[in-house]
Each structure stands twice: as C-alpha cells, then as structure tokens.
C-alpha cells in the first residue's frame, strides 16, 4: 500500500453497555480492492462497518478513528454521515427481503436512491432505475418496477438492494453477509454479480462473511477477526496456502470438502468467549493447541506489514517469502 488508503480505520472500539465487542481495529482499504472480513458470529465483523457508517443504535458507544479520504466519520455529525452513506460508501445486508420497505413499491424505493444521489428526476430517474435493474440482472424490469417487495424472491431482493447501492456510484460497497440468507445456487449468482460489478465500476468491495469459500471467490485480501480483533490479514492466496494464526488454520480446516469422508469435518474445539468476560491474554488461547503462559497473560499485537498476524506463536510465513526477505 504505497499511496494513501481510500479508507483508514484506526483503533476502532465499539461498546454496547458494559460489553466491548470491537477492541481496536486497524484496517486500510485501498481504492478498488476487495477485502474479505471473516469470522464467527459475534466476532464484531459487521459491527465494525456499521460503526464506521454510524448505523449502530444509540446505546452503542464508538471510539477511535474512521477516515474516508481524510474525512473523519467516527462520531461525525449526522449531516456528514448522511453525505457519505450511499454516495461514497454503500452497504447491503443479510436477509435482503426485510431490507426493502414492505409497504412501498420497489420502483419508487429505487427512484428515491437515484434522486438522492444524482440530479436525475422524473422519467430520467426511472430510466436510470431500469438501467440499474438491468445491470443487476432483474428480468422483465418494466413490469416489476411497480411490484411490492414481497413479490420478489430473496435473491431478487438482494439484486434490488445491490441496484439501490449502485445508485450513488459509491467508492466502497460494504456487503454484510449478502448471501447468508440465500440458497447455494443463488449465492453463487450474487457472488458472480458482486465480482462483475466491482470489475466494471472499480469500486472497492468489503465482503463480510463467515464463509471462507465465498470470500476466496470475490476477494483479493482477507482480514480474519476473532472476538473483536483482527487476528490475521493477508492476500487470499497466501492465507489459503499458508495460514499463520491457529484460528485461521482452524477455520480453513473446518471448510467441508467435497472429496472428504464423513469423518473429515473438523471443528475448532470450545466456543467464542463471552465479550463481557474476555480473558486478559489472547482471546483464542483457551481453544488453541499452541497456547502457553504468555498467551494467557498478554494480548498479542497484530504484527507485520501487508500480511500481518496477531499470535505469540504464529506459524512462519511462506518459505519463499521468507527467503525473499532474507536475500
């Protein structure tokens, strides 16, 4: 990352009441890159991005820094956030069917997004909406313009949400588990669509998921999160070939394989710690085979440039990389 990143998150912390769910996230997003954010439910992967856009409910306290092209978004005034949302950073969510207002026709809801972010009005705005609907692959657009959200399937609803997100021609699209609520075949179609749209528009994509397979399909880089911290980042190919954090290793091992037998489904023993009772040391230590006394008392920092890992006993990087570094 030579040039200034498009978006820089520094020391982001999010607390709900007494329980802190995000413990200081540092992440850079370069223009046009596709970053996968991976982790189990409750690891803070969605909350990080909701906090960055100020979309968390009032009881959540956020601190740290989120800079988009130098502009501070963390705890920024409402007007600042409203100018960034949709136009610079768009977001789509899990469960697309309930993300559309059920009592309004979808066409006008899309027109709303278009008039919000462009100068198009009336018929021009409608033409733009039809173009967006075509872009995301909604068949029979003119007729469907006037339908209600419940008349669309989950996959179609997610396509509509993506169309709505594209209305503002955003620099970053944050996709929060966009395929989790969908059938496997529809999942693949939405992943293809996201990949294609990113190539065509040049926007950056933040793909939040617990599905490493899906992430590897659309992303260049991965950030693995555990209990509110980033524990490993790196290029997708590198992390798949040479995972360094024991948690990443566990995640990769627990991907079911088509050629594996019935006994081959590996899981990570134990459970994610309660966010309000985190251990003083590494949060993963209790589930980790490599853990020792250091792990129980001190939190490992995220170390490394580009590819980084937060583990006292991280596996060595890819041998070829190490040789290159030594040479």
């Amino acid at each position: 990352m030579n040039s200034a990143p498009l978006m820089a998150i520094r020391g982001l912390e999010v607390t709900f009441g007494t329980s802190r769910v995000v413990h200081g996230i540092d992440l850079d997003i370069a223009a046009g890159e596709a970053l996968g954010v991976v982790g189990e439910s409750g690891c803070g992967k969605s909350v990080t991005w909701l906090a960055a856009l100020g979309l968390l409910p009032g009881m959540a306290a956020t601190s740290g820094s989120v800079r988009f092209q130098g502009q501070e978004l963390c705890n920024a005034p409402r007007a600042t956030l409203e100018n960034v949302r949709g136009r610079r950073i768009a977001m789509i969510f899990q469960d697309p069917s309930s993300c559309l207002n059920p009592v309004r026709r979808v066409g006008p809801q899309l027109v709303e997004a278009v008039t919000l972010h462009t100068n198009l009005r009336g018929d021009e705005a409608k033409t733009e909406v039809l173009r967006l609907m075509e872009l995301v692959g909604i068949p029979d657009r003119a007729a469907r313009f006037n339908l209600y959200p419940h008349e669309f399937s989950g996959g179609q609803s997610q396509r509509l949400m993506i169309a709505m997100a594209l209305a503002g021609r955003p620099d970053i699209l944050v996709a929060d588990e966009p395929t989790t609520a969908l059938d496997a075949t529809i999942q693949a179609q939405i992943l293809d669509l996201l990949g294609r749209l990113r190539r065509e528009t040049g926007m950056a994509l933040i793909f939040i998921s617990h599905d490493l397979g899906a992430v590897s399909q659309v992303c260049d880089r991965i950030a693995v999160m555990y209990a509110g911290r980033v524990v490993e980042t790196g290029a997708v190919t590198e992390i798949f070939a040479h995972p360094r954090h024991p948690y990443t290793v566990g995640l990769l091992n627990s991907i079911p394989r088509l050629d594996g037998g019935q006994d081959d489904l590996l899981t990570i023993p134990g459970a994610v710690p309660d966010p309000s009772h985190l251990p003083p040391g590494c949060a993963f230590a209790a589930r980790c085979a490599r853990a020792d006394e250091t792990c129980a008392t001190a939190i490992p920092p995220l170390r490394g440039d580009g590819a980084a890992v937060a583990c006292w006993h991280a596996a060595l990087p890819n041998p070829s990389l190490r040789e290159a570094a030594l040479a």
Partner: protein, 308 residues
C-alpha cells in the same frame, strides 16, 4: 377483495346476532320488568296484566323469535316506561353521545399518536419517560375518578367550567377530557411500541445506509409501517369510547345514549336496552369493519392475498 369483504360482512352479521341473543336472554333472566316498572307494592292482578300486555307470559323461544323477526322489520318494540317506540327514543340521544365521542376520538388520535411516536424517537430520554408515565397514568386511573377530580378542580374549586348538563360548548369540555384520557394513554403507548418495532426493522437501517436524511427515513419508511398495527387499536378505541360514554354521561348528567342505558337497565325497560345494545354493536362492528378493510387496502401483502 370481494370474498374478503364478504366473509368480513358475514362475520359482522354473526356478531350482531350473538349480541341480540345475549341481550335478550340475560335481560329476561335478570329480573321481572313488571315489578321494576310498577314497583314491588303493586297488586298481583296489575303485575299479571302488565306481563300479559307485554307478552312476557309467552314461552321464551316464542318471545325471542317474535323479537328477532320484528327487528328485521324495523320494529324494535316499545318502551315499557312510556309506551313510545324504542328506536326513535334511542336515536334522539345519539347526537348528544356523538358530540362527546367524536371530539374524544379526534383528541385521542391527534395527541396519542404523535406523543407515542415522539417518545419512540427519543427512546429512554426524559421526554420518553414523561410520556410513558402520563400514558400509564391516563389509562390506569378509572374515568369516573378522572371525571370527579376534574369536577372538583375546575367546577368546585376554580368555578370556571360547568360540572354537568348540556348547554354551551363549555359543558362538553370536562366530559370530553374525561372520556379521552384513557384512550389517549392507550394509543400513546401502542404508538410508541409500534414505532419502536418499526425502527428496529432492517429496512430502516437499509434506508439510513442509502443516505436518506433521518427525518425522511422516519417520514417515508417508518411512519407508513407503524400506522398499520395502529389501525386495529383505533378500531377498538371507537368501541371503548362508546362504552366509556356510559360512565362519563352519568357523571356529567349528559343526556346521551349512555345515560339512557343506565336508566333503562335500572327500570328493566327491555326494548330500550336491547335497542341501545344493538346500536352500539352496529357502531362497533362498523368501526372494526372499516379498520379491517382499510388495513387490507393499505397492506400490500394482504391486498395480494385478497386478490388471489
């Protein structure tokens, strides 16, 4: 839509028949009109003549079928107290009752709904807690207490408003406030929870994420969705306002249907009581029918089901 409306109409008719049957049977089980009208000291011959004249000696089911048939012919019987037809006697009291219930309904909607929504938008603030406290106080204190306290303050102590009777518009102020206190409280509470539920819906977050200003998120996305569950409550409110008129009209000696009902029940004036109950049922059924149809029309999901 047609079949939907038709089933609702049939259901409304069934409700009406049920009320007629109950009113008819319970009134006849609860006391002898002859004694109530002529007094306990009346000679037996007079009592028997009275019963004979009003057809009270006939078997129960004969009385019942005669009554039901005459209702459908538009004849609601005569008042036992003065022999006049019951229906006009009741209908002439309706405007007085409506002059209390309609302003109360308007107050309920214009104060209750905004109060609940503002409270929801400022959840857990001082404003929110004040609204909840006032709402709970409003619907837990019985209206006869509210009415008497208001009379004590504004009529007895301050002497600024009349304590009863019907004259200038000033006479209506205390009864209307008394009547609407309970319903304002209820509607405010329901509006608050309806709004809170909507504000937690994913489409609200999605609407914010697309960059809409917060007040447009509320206006275009939250309010239209919060109104739907409220319609049902408003339908029930119409019923409770009419029921509340019985108490309020008695406190403030308001010459409406509610007070006539109390007098007629005490006098075992069968035809008049039945007539009032039927009228109230028709009003409530109409209110609920309107709400059902309105809801079906406003909610795209049920509209589609009705088409199918």
């Amino acid at each position: 839509m047609m079949s939907f409306a038709l089933t609702r109409l049939l259901r409304a008719f069934a409700t009406l028949m049920l009320v007629i049957t109950f009113a008819f049977s319970i009134l006849r089980l609860s006391g002898d009109p002859a004694i109530a009208v002529l007094g306990p000291m009346a000679p037996a011959a007079a009592l028997n003549a009275f019963r004979e004249a009003w057809g009270l000696t006939e078997p129960f089911w004969v009385q019942y079928s005669k009554y039901v048939l005459s209702i459908f012919a538009g004849d609601f019987g005569d008042s036992m107290r003065d022999g006049l037809p019951a229906l006009p006697l009741v209908l002439e009291r309706v405007p007085a009752t409506l002059s209390l219930t309609i302003p109360s309904l308007i107050l309920t909607l214009t104060i209750g709904i905004p109060a609940g929504i503002v409270a929801a938008l400022h959840r857990n603030s001082l404003l929110d807690r004040t609204v909840i406290l006032a709402a709970v106080a409003g619907f837990t204190v019985p209206s006869f207490v509210v009415g008497l306290v208001l009379v004590l303050i504004f009529s007895v102590t301050l002497g600024v408003l009349p304590s009863g009777g019907q004259g200038s518009w000033l006479h209506g102020v205390l009864p209307i406030i008394t009547m609407s206190t309970v319903s304002i409280g209820l509607v405010a509470r329901y509006s608050r929870s309806a709004m809170l539920e909507v504000l937690n819906a994913p489409y609200i977050r999605a609407a914010s994420a697309k960059g809409l200003k917060w007040r447009d998120v509320i206006r275009l996305h939250a309010l239209p969705n919060a109104i739907l569950p409220l319609l049902t409550i408003i339908g029930l409110m119409v019923g409770s306002l009419i029921a509340g008129s019985v108490v309020v009209e008695s406190i403030f000696s308001w010459p409406g249907m509610g007070r006539l009902l109390i007098i007629s029940v005490a006098a075992r004036d069968l035809a008049v009581v039945q007539c009032i109950l039927i009228l109230i049922t028709v009003l409530m059924v109409c209110a609920n029918l309107t709400v059902d149809l309105l809801q079906a029309w406003l909610d795209p999901k049920s509209r589609n089901k009705a088409h199918a």
